[in-house]
């Protein structure tokens, strides 16, 4: 499905397509890029996009972004995901960057934005805590003013790729007496600060993506406070809005469906009684993707005409994640007995994995994608948002 593109936009699409074909690093085409690449490997494509000036499509030009209108951003997103490229680190480019240029002061913009664009700084997100999941406003990590510093104590968790991070942006409680939402501040913390400890959390797929981050008497300069003290909730909500916009994941789902079809063709004989069920399930999920893609195009076209999409992002998050979870589950079922095997970490080509190559990541993808309906505001929270904002309930 395509947008009806102007000649200029069509030329842009072709340019993006050709650029990816010519420049995407072969080294990054591994079995499971999300877990198998080193930090340096992950940054290869980031640096190439930075040199091209395409690293931050959302950012205004004055801060080094592409300054593209919505249609171009959408085309870029579509082409990069369809081609299966690894997106640049969202915590840096999509999340903290816009918060800094929207709410930060001049010194903060100057200090942080160029290093986000270049990939010199790797950011992680200090939101969740053991006692604060979906109910984020109850964060308990404390920041107490001490002269030009805050003394920070607390425990952040589910911190994705903190093991690579140079900086963490944190929600901290600066006014313990205020109502939950109004006593929170948005603080940037150097991961090299004394008192910061990162402990890996291994998830059910065996991979190390998330971590606990312990903060013990960490001294953070007041200069690292974003905006006003106790206004952090506003900035956090702004950021979550950005986080959810690109969760429809059409390009990725489409690629995984194509692969699933090949696996079913190779693994399940047409006279197997289960074959027809796979045919039907695949067709249904393909139609789910088609309908979501048509919805996304409708919303993009509306936004291009200046119409506020409302909580469309919540719809994309819910359906995009449900769809991808369904696809990875079907894929795991499709490889049959080989679904018993799972790659060991750290991943190495020297370790034996049974069965054909195309099945080697099916188990871990199936397991790993269970997280999708939980993170970024669980799908239940997204339904609450739509119920309130759209249905007026």
């Amino acid at each position: 499905m395509e947008l009806a593109l102007s000649p200029e936009d069509a030329a842009f699409r072709d340019e993006v397509r050709a650029f990816i074909a010519d420049n995407y690093p072969a080294e990054m085409r591994v079995a499971n890029p999300e877990t198998d690449l080193s930090k340096e490997q992950m940054l290869l494509w980031h640096r190439i996009l930075h040199r091209k000036g395409w690293i931050a499509p959302l950012w205004p030009k004055e801060y080094g972004g592409s300054g593209w209108p919505i249609t171009r951003r959408f085309i870029f997103e579509q082409e990069t995901t369809r081609a299966g490229t690894m997106p640049p680190l969202a915590f840096s480019v999509t999340m903290v960057g816009p918060v800094i240029y929207t709410f930060g002061n001049e010194a903060q913009k100057k200090k942080f934005l160029p290093r986000i664009l270049s990939g010199e700084d790797w950011w992680c997100q200090g939101y969740s805590e053991p006692g604060s999941g979906s109910d984020l406003a109850t964060v308990r990590t404390k920041a107490v003013r001490d002269g030009d510093h805050y003394i920070v104590n607390g425990h952040k968790t589910w911190t994705t790729l903190a093991q690579h991070a140079d900086w963490i942006f944190c929600l901290v409680r600066t006014d313990p007496t205020a109502k939950p939402q109004s006593g929170i501040s948005f603080l940037l913390i150097d991961m090299k600060s004394p008192g910061v400890t990162v402990r890996p959390i291994i998830t059910i797929d065996g991979s190390h993506e998330v971590n606990d981050v312990f903060l013990e008497d960490v001294r953070v300069p007041v200069a690292n406070l974003i905006g006003e003290e106790n206004k952090g909730w506003t900035y956090a909500k702004f950021l979550l809005g950005n986080e959810r916009t690109s969760m429809a994941g059409i390009g990725r789902s489409t690629r995984y469906i194509d692969r699933l079809k090949k696996i079913v063709k190779a693994e399940i004989p047409a006279d197997d009684p289960a074959h027809l069920e796979f045919v039907k399930e695949i067709a249904r999920v393909e139609l789910d993707v088609l309908a979501l893609e048509a919805t996304e195009l409708r919303v993009v076209a509306q936004m291009a005409r200046g119409i506020d999409p409302g909580p469309a992002a919540s719809l994309f998050k819910i359906r995009g994640t449900e769809i991808f979870q369904n696809i990875t589950e079907l894929t795991h079922r499709a490889i049959g007995n080989y679904g018993l095997a799972i790659r060991e970490h750290p991943v190495s080509a020297n370790r034996f994995m049974p069965g054909p190559d195309y099945g080697h990541t099916a188990s871990e993808k199936y397991l790993n994608s269970r997280k999708l309906s939980i993170y970024g505001g669980s799908n239940e929270i997204q339904r609450n948002i739509i119920a309130k904002a759209v249905l007026g309930l």
């Binding site: 039907k280 249904r284 088609l290 509306q302 309930l393």
Partner: protein, 376 residues
């Protein structure tokens, strides 16, 4: 991708909306359905006068050239109001087939009367055992002078009791499943040896079992073109039915939401219960997705894209499942009231059930969508 409607299209939509709002509320519809004939010739004429029958025909056929997008606009509103009159049968199906296959003389003889609202048509393609297979035809047509005589049985022909003319599929050669042996014929509904047994459909329309014994028929197009023409016509009819379903879904969602904000149980409005909020969010999402897919299908139909038949099947299936889900939940959330004949909810439920059967149910179309996949 969002359809930015032209001024003409907006005008069409608002004029249909106005007409239906003023003359086709649920009580008016109830009276029409309960009437002797079971539909309203007065409404039919009002639709014609508003230009609804001309809207989709090309200009050289006396139409307004609006194509499938104008059909989509009209059918969405018809779906909202549960319009009973045979617009799809007369304009989309018969009109579409005549426009596609008919000779110059046939077009001139039939299309102006359709546009003017003078004649009503029905399409007789279903037979006992044919289910949703357009090529499964046992009815025969033998050449007889410059005409043909048809013999066989047609089943569940929607709008046949109201119609002046039928388009009948019949076999001019080959065995029961041969695609190339099916042709289409124009038959006078009051022709000699045509026996018609009318019945009511679950959604309040009229249909008929039809028996033909050497009934005179006039060939539409050439011999053997029947199945291909019916397939193309089915794609367009699916576009219309999907739009109708989306209109019905929108009304069900609006009514259910409204009800949930007023109905109290356990001292609270039922809309305050999270389990029902999430159900209604899923109904909302089902509507959004159905609406998007409907627009995508209508746009594709209007530019005649390759692969349109696969897309039509896909949309019929996805929107069919969405409609079933929303209709189920609308009845459920209305509780006992949803079961009553008095409330409109059950009537939307029945309309959606009927749409889901016409030209193939969601299961049939999801498998057809899979079969037509070049990649699989």
């Amino acid at each position: 991708m969002d359809i930015q409607f032209t001024e003409e299209q907006e005008l069409l939509r608002s004029s249909v909306q106005r007409l239906l709002r003023d003359h086709y509320d649920f009580d008016a519809r109830r009276k029409i359905v309960a009437s002797e004939e079971g539909f309203s010739r007065k409404q039919w004429q009002a639709f014609a006068e508003l230009g609804l029958f001309a809207a989709s025909f090309p200009e050289d056929a006396g139409g307004l050239g609006g194509g499938p997008l104008s059909t989509m606009i009209i059918m969405q509103e018809f779906g909202r109001h549960l319009v009973i009159e045979p617009f799809v049968e007369t304009v989309v199906l018969a009109g579409g087939l005549i426009q596609r296959l008919g000779s110059k003389d046939q077009k001139q003889a039939f299309i102006p009367d359709i546009i003017a609202g003078e004649k009503i048509w029905a399409l007789a393609w279903t037979e006992k055992g044919s289910r949703f297979d357009l090529a499964n035809v046992a009815t025969t047509a033998r050449r007889h002078g410059k005409d043909y005589v048809l013999s066989g049985e047609k089943t569940a022909v929607i709008a046949a009791p109201w119609s002046d003319h039928l388009i009948v599929s019949a076999r001019t050669s080959g065995h029961r499943h041969d695609r190339g042996g099916v042709s289409l014929f124009v038959v006078d509904r009051r022709a000699a040896n045509l026996d018609l047994q009318g019945f009511k459909t679950i959604d309040g329309r009229r249909a008929a079992e039809i028996s033909l014994r050497d009934v005179r028929g006039e060939l539409l197009g050439s011999e053997g073109e029947g199945v291909a023409a019916l397939e193309a016509c089915r794609d367009r009819a699916i576009g219309a039915l999907c739009a109708e379903a989306v209109g019905a879904i929108a009304e069900l969602n609006a009514a259910t939401l409204e009800y949930s904000k007023t109905r109290k149980q356990f001292g609270a409005t039922i809309g305050s219960f999270q389990v029902l909020q999430h159900r209604m969010v899923d109904m909302f999402i089902a509507h959004q997705e159905a609406l998007s897919l409907m627009q995508h299908l209508s746009l594709s139909l209007s530019v005649g894209e390759a692969g349109i038949s696969r897309l039509a099947s896909g949309a019929k299936s996805k929107i069919g499942y969405a409609g079933r889900f929303v209709a189920d939940q609308a009845v459920q959330l209305h509780g006992g009231m949803g079961m009553t004949d008095e409330l409109n909810i059950g009537h939307y439920f029945k309309r959606i059930s009927s749409i889901n059967i016409q030209f193939g149910d969601p299961a049939f179309h999801v498998l057809r969508f899979a079969q037509l996949d070049a990649a699989a």
